[in-house]
Each structure stands twice: as structure tokens, then as C-alpha cells.
Symmetry: C2
Subunit: 347 residues, 2 copies
């Protein structure tokens, strides 16, 4: 088995978890599940033993915080956010220079997975499939006809593998009726954005599909371990197309039969909003009078709720947020509303 | 016109406005309406010009705060709370010793009244009726079939007065059907607990109906302006029956035809709970996303609400309360719940 290098793109402010998650201390740096480890640390912990190395790609603003939380990983700092393809591509190019046979796996910084054995088994299978030259995605076996995820349309089973299938196509978040059909078909997976691929294979696809980005990333990677790193970043990074790896590689390559999916049966959440957080974490202590819900707080203030079901209360030293499980997605609008009022300190 | 002395019994923690209102800084000491004046100060302001003197009866814990807020009034400190009859009776006995012809008027410390002219006219009429020897209550003309108030059943109009009626009886908070009947009859008023009576008349009723209390209050009043005040309070105050003036005087005297009502058409609220406060005061600044409601805060924390109608949020340095207009009455349960957890600091 070739060596796996784990890449963790750690970006995004997690505005649906505002005010806990901020631009300055985003979701992945927070211990949201009360385990004593941040989501990023849990992600790295999960890959410990599976991967020969862990590489976190993050913004410069978070470089030192990431290094402090994970002293044993390599931190690759992006000069500016360019979505996931440049981030993963940069790491792939750097890793490929050091180890031409390396397999890379990309894992989001904010996933919570309890079934480590199930996750490990899926990653190991994905690595074996990736050794055959495929771009491999780990899909999640759907439990409900969710309309919150994109789906992976799985095709024929791959010979010699226990669970892997070829991928027919990636499909966008469906409506409920369509989602019910996907669930019934039994061959669809939720797209969790986990990709495993030989670094050299990824770079070949990139050379073909995004040649300018490929050239830029190679130039940066060549200079990375030299005094020329900053100059190369300054020259090439601003010119890289901002695009997700799904759109840049996975979707077009799937149409040529180059993508496989390994279904993962493990539970999984990205703690995307307060409803997800409430489902995963115990509420902070509060007084509930004819009321129920979830409280998250970083202050010593007591919280009391009277006559409201399903309410969510988040308290920080500079912000109190009140919402419901049903409205949890709409929290993302709040930071912008404070920005409009000039309260950039709250972002 | 004989001189009116206004008595303001200022007690009660206002637990339905917790956490704004606390045992240590109760509702009447707070500027809840954003006018720059506390409810107590507004009450005194309203009586300025109407009354020859203002006398606030309050607990010893609040004596200095009241004196600070109202430097020109007499503060009578109760050693312990004994409900409104001993409080008003003490003030009446002290005032009667100084001015045997004095008319006293009792006005709650936490009422908010915008129509000062209407209030003033009603008080002046009540004083004139009180000069005839009646116990006079100022009733509020009902605007809705409210089940939140006790009612005054008004009888015949009194000769020589513009609006005053005799009182048939006081009735408890009715059910909705009964309240509709009261509203339709046109002769019922809301009982706002405002009484105007010649001090000597009140004391005569007290001598007849509560002779022990009468004797105790007279003994304290005799010693009040002497070095013997504390000794008299220590001897008599703990023995005074804890009873409201309504039950001790107004109800029994009404059965003998001794009570009159002056209907007041002015608007009025006792800011009893957050629903009342929200109706009277502007909300503190907040971000509302698909949401509406009321925010009161004594901290610099921002408040944001997403996806909730009619929500009420109150924020203080040690407590966040979330409720709804509909559940506002149930807030009174919250301090007790924190007390059960040993958080007496929150009371």
C-alpha cells in the first residue's frame, strides 16, 4: 500500500454557527462537541495511524492557531482563499515532489465522525482503489432522503473491491421526491467531499483540465522548500482560479469513468448549523420553564428560557443569538447584518 | 380643598421582570421606559403639584436608594414587609398626627400613566369625594374584557360630583364571559389599587376592623418623630397583620356603602411583565432575521434573533432570559428555579 498523505483544507468562517464561530476563530478551531479537542484536532486525530503525514491548508490568519493546535502537522498557508482546488492542488504538488507515488486524501476540517473503525475501513479501501489510478470519493450511505446534500450516482461495482463502485455522475442537492428515489435506488451516496487519489493522477487531470492552475501550482511547489517560496506565491497564487475540486476535477473526470466511490456506512456530520450542533452536543446548563432547546455559551451568564420549544440560544461576550432548530440555516445572514451596521468587530 | 398627602408603597421584587428586576434593585427603582426616570420617580413626578407631600414606604434595603432617587420626599422604612395595609396605615397615622385634616392618597410605585391631565383630574375629584368622608378608589375605565384585573362594581352616581359613583362591591379577576358582561354594563372599573381617603377616616375604619393593628400603628406614629421610633417599631411592627388594604378596609367598608369610585379614563399599566414592558417601551437595538419581538439589555452584548416571532430577550451581566409575549407571566418561576440550584446571587 502506497503511503497516504492527508490534506485538510481548513477554511470558511462557519457563519451558520455565529457567534460561536467567527472569521478570527472559525468553526474548525473550536471545541464544539465538548471533547476537549477542536474539530480540526479531531480530524487530525482520526487520520493518525492512517496517514504518513497530515497537511493542513489554511489562511495566513489561522496559520499560528493551527500550528498551536497541531504541532506535528505541516501547515500550508494560503495568501488568500481560492476555494478547495488550489488548496488541495498546492498540497498535492508539494507532496508529489517529495514522494512521486504518494496517495493524497482530502478531508474537511469540520467533520465529526464517531465510528472511527468504519471511517478507517472506508479510507483504506479508497486508498487501494486510488492505487489503480482512479479519483476516489468516499460517499456516505444515505439514511434519509435528505435534500441538504449533493449525491453521488454509483454505477457498477469494481472488480476486486469489497464495496467500491464506479461513479456515473455527481448530482446537485435534489428536491425531496428525487431524494426519495435516490434512497430507494440503493446506489446513491451523499457527497461528503472526501477525495482520495494518487497525487500524480490528480496533477495529470489538472494539467489537462486546468493547465494554467497546474503550471502555477507546480511553480509554487518547486519553490516551496526554498527561499523563493514567497516570491512564487506572490507571482502565481493571485492568478489561480477560485474553484472547488468537485467542479474542477471530480465532475468532469466522472463523465470519462475516472471516478470511483467507496460507500461509507459510518455516521457523519459537518456540524453545519446549530441544529446539527444541538443533535451532537449536550446543551449548556440552563433553566427551562415550559421550554426545551439547546444552549451554547462562552460566558458565565446564566441562561433561562420560558415557554419556547426547540429554541437555540448562543451566548458569547459580545453577542447573544436566539433562534430555533428550524431556522438554524438562516443564522448565516446575521454577521452580514452587523457588517452593514459597521460592526466588523462581530464578524 | 384639604391638603393631599401622597403615599407610595414601594415593595415587591417584580419577579416577572427578572432578570432586569431583582430583590436588590426592584422594578420600581428601574428606568424601564427609557425616560431617564425610574418608575418610582415618575410616580412622584406625577404627584408633584397635586400633593402637599409625598411619603414613600419601602423596605430598609431600599431606603437609601429611594432617598437618592427622590431627595425631596419622606422615606418611611418598614422593618419587614407586611403588605399594603400596615404600610399605608403607618403613613396615614404619621400624617394624621401632623395634620388631622389631611387627605391621603395611595399610589403604587410601578404604574406608568401617560395622560397626566386625566390622572390629575381623577385625583382632584377623588379628593373632593374623600372630603365627604368616603373611602375613594380611582378605578380605570375598562377598554377590553380583561381577565387580568379585579373589577369595581359601580353603583349610583353621587350627587354633586361629575363622575363619582358609590361602590357596590369589589370583585375578583373574572373569567372572560364575566369580564365581557362587566364591559357591556358600563358601570364597572378596573381596580388599580389607588385609594384616596381622609387619614382620620381610614384610621377610624382601622380602629373598628383591625383594632390591634390600629393600636400598634398609633403607638409607632406617636414615637416616629422622637428618639423612641426604633423601640416602637421593634415592639409593634412584627405583630402587625400582613394584609392588603383592599381586604382590610376597601372590601368590608364597601359593603356598608362607605366606598366611592372615581372612574379614570387615562391609560395605565403596571408594567407587570415583559409583554407589558414591550407594549410600552421601545426594544433595544437588535438584528432581526425573519423575526420580531422585544429586547431589553443592560450589557453591551449585541442581540440577534432569527426565525422567531414575538420573542422577548432580556440580557444582564449575569443572566440571559428568553421568552415570548404569551409566556411572559411565567417568568416569575425563574428566580425560584435558580434559588433551588443555590444561585441566590441571581435573586
Amino acid at each position: 500500500m502506497d503511503e497516504l498523505h492527508a490534506i485538510i483544507p481548513a477554511g470558511g468562517a462557519g457563519t451558520r454557527l455565529w457567534p460561536l464561530s467567527r472569521a478570527g476563530h472559525p468553526k474548525f478551531l473550536l471545541d464544539l462537541t465538548g471533547t476537549g479537542r477542536s474539530l480540526l484536532q479531531q480530524t487530525a486525530d482520526r487520520l493518525d495511524g492512517l496517514a504518513a503525514g497530515v497537511h493542513v491548508v489554511t489562511g495566513r490568519a489561522h496559520e499560528s492557531a493551527v500550528a498551536e493546535q497541531l504541532p506535528d502537522v505541516e501547515v500550508l498557508a494560503e495568501p488568500s482563499p481560492r476555494d478547495s482546488m488550489p488548496a488541495i492542488g498546492l498540497a498535492a504538488a508539494i507532496i508529489a515532489r517529495r514522494d512521486p507515488d504518494a496517495i493524497i486524501g482530502s478531508f474537511a476540517a469540520d467533520h465529526v465522525i464517531d465510528d472511527i473503525a468504519g471511517f478507517t475501513a472506508a479510507v483504506r479501501e479508497a486508498v487501494r482503489v486510488a492505487e489503480t489510478g482512479k479519483v476516489v470519493t468516499i460517499g456516505l450511505t444515505p439514511l434519509t432522503p435528505s435534500t441538504a446534500f449533493g449525491y453521488i450516482d454509483g454505477g457498477d461495482r469494481l472488480d476486486a473491491f469489497a464495496t467500491a463502485r464506479s461513479v456515473n455522475r455527481f448530482v446537485e442537492k435534489p428536491d425531496l421526491e428525487t431524494a426519495r428515489g435516490y434512497l430507494a435506488a440503493g446506489t446513491y451516496s451523499w457527497n461528503a467531499g472526501m477525495f482520495v487519489v494518487r497525487a500524480s493522477v490528480l496533477l495529470e487531470h489538472l494539467a489537462r483540465l486546468q493547465p494554467t492552475m497546474h503550471a502555477g501550482l507546480l511553480a509554487i511547489a518547486e519553490a516551496w522548500d526554498t527561499p523563493g517560496r514567497e516570491a512564487a506565491l506572490a507571482e502565481h497564487w493571485p492568478r489561480l482560479t477560485s474553484i472547488a475540486i468537485d467542479h474542477a476535477i471530480a465532475e468532469p473526470v466522472s463523465l470519462d469513468g475516472g471516478v470511483a466511490v467507496v460507500p461509507g456506512a459510518f455516521d457523519w456530520t459537518d456540524l453545519g448549523d446549530f441544529a446539527a450542533l444541538a443533535a451532537k452536543s449536550p446543551s449548556a446548563d440552563a433553566v427551562w420553564v415550559d421550554a426545551a432547546g439547546f444552549v451554547a455559551s462562552t460566558t458565565e451568564q446564566t441562561v433561562s428560557v420560558v415557554g419556547l420549544d426547540d429554541v437555540i440560544v448562543a451566548v458569547t461576550p459580545d453577542a447573544v443569538l436566539v433562534t430555533t432548530r428550524a431556522a438554524a440555516q438562516d443564522v448565516k445572514a446575521v454577521p452580514g447584518r452587523w457588517r452593514e451596521r459597521g460592526r466588523t468587530d462581530l464578524l
